[in-house]
Symmetry: C2
Subunit: 225 residues, 2 copies
Amino acid sequence: MAIRLFELAGSNPDHLFSPYCWRTRFSLAHKGLDFESVPWRFTENDRLGFSGQNKVPVLVDGETVVHDSWTIATYLDLTYPQKTLKTEAAHLRFLNAWADTVLHPAIARMVVRDILDIIPENTRDYFRKSREAAFGMTLEQVVEGREDRRDAFRAVLNPLRIVLRAQPWLGGDAPDYADYIVAGSLMWPRSVSAFDIMPPNDLVTDWFKKTRALFDGMAEKALRP
Amino acid sequence: MAIRLFELAGSNPDHLFSPYCWRTRFSLAHKGLDFESVPWRFTENDRLGFSGQNKVPVLVDGETVVHDSWTIATYLDLTYPQKTLKTEAAHLRFLNAWADTVLHPAIARMVVRDILDIIPENTRDYFRKSREAAFGMTLEQVVEGREDRRDAFRAVLNPLRIVLRAQPWLGGDAPDYADYIVAGSLMWPRSVSAFDIMPPNDLVTDWFKKTRALFDGMAEKALRP
C-alpha cells in the first residue's frame, strides 16, 4: 500500500506551502519513497480525526499513522534506513528548534498576509482571525514596511551563511534532514508570496536554489502565487 | 611534553573569561588531557608571534601549534580520538555559528563594560577604544538598561531550551562539544560580571549549572569578579 501524505494546500490542490509539510516531502524524496499527496485545507479537522490531532503533515504508511514533521523524519529513518536523513544526530535538534522559533517568526512577519490570497475563500476568515489573535494586530499591519526589514532578515540567516562557507550542504558533504528543515522553511514564503525575501548574491540563496533542484527539481517546479 | 594552552586572563592570572578559551578548556577536560595554562592578556601580541596570529586560544602540543577554538577541537578529536567531542558531526557547525553571531552579541550588550574592571590597568585603554569603535558608542552606553533587556536575552536562548526539553545535553545523552560551545559562551558573562544574565528557574540555567559541575566542578569553581 502506498504511503499517503496529508499536506496543507491552497485553493489549488497542487499549491503546497507548509514549511513542515515540505520537510516531509523532501525527506520522502531523499529516501526515494513514492507517496500519494492528499491535499488538506485549514479547518478540515474532521478529515484528520483518524490521526488523533488536527495538524499536517500526517503520514499514513500502511497501518501506521505518524504526525509532526520531526517525528515523521525520525520514523522514516528507523523504518527505511537506506539513505539516512541523519535524524539520529543529537545536534540536529538545535537547527530544528532555531528554524521553528527564530526563522519562522521572521518569515511570517514578511509574508503572512499573502497567504490569504492563495487559500480557499471559506477558510480566509478562520485564517485571518486566528493569526491576528496571535500577532495582536491585523495581517496587513504585520507585514507593513517589509521592504525595510529585508536587511534584518538577511542578518537572521547569518549562522546558515557561516556554515555554508565551510561546507556545501548544512548536512556536510551531502544534503540531509538539516537541509530539508531550512529549505522547507524557505519554501513557505516562496510558495505564498511574490515578495522575494531572499538576499541577492548570497550563499544561502545559492544553497536554497541548489536544494530546490534536487529530486528532478521537485521544489523548483512547485506552484508559486 | 605537556600540552600548553594560552588563555585570556584578567589581572589575576586565574581569572579566565574568554568564551573561546573556555571551549578549549572544557574540551581538554572532556578528553582527560593534562595541560599547563599560560595566562595571556590583551595587547600581548608579541607573546603569540610564534603562532602566526594574535588571538587566543592557542594550543601548543609538542611541535604542533593550533589556534582558533573550533580548529583546536577538531585537532583534539583527530589526535586524541578517545572520548570524542563529536566535532566530525556536520550539524555541529550551525550551533557554533549561532553562538558566535547571535549569542555573543547578546551577551556583550549585557556585560562588556564589566570586563574593564577585571583586566590589567595598562590594557584598559586598548580594550575600551577597540570595543567602543566596534559598537559605535561608549561601553557604558552599550550596557545601559540591561535590567530591562533580560527578557529579550531569555528569548535568545529559546532554541536551546527546546532542545533541552527533548534531551539532557545538547550532545544528546551525554555532553559533547555542543555543550562546551554554549557553556563556554556562558562562562564569559559569569566570569566578568556580578550581573546575572541567566533566567531563574529555567532549563538552560539548570543545564549550565550541570555543565559547570563536570570535571570535578572545574567551571563552577572558576574565579568570578
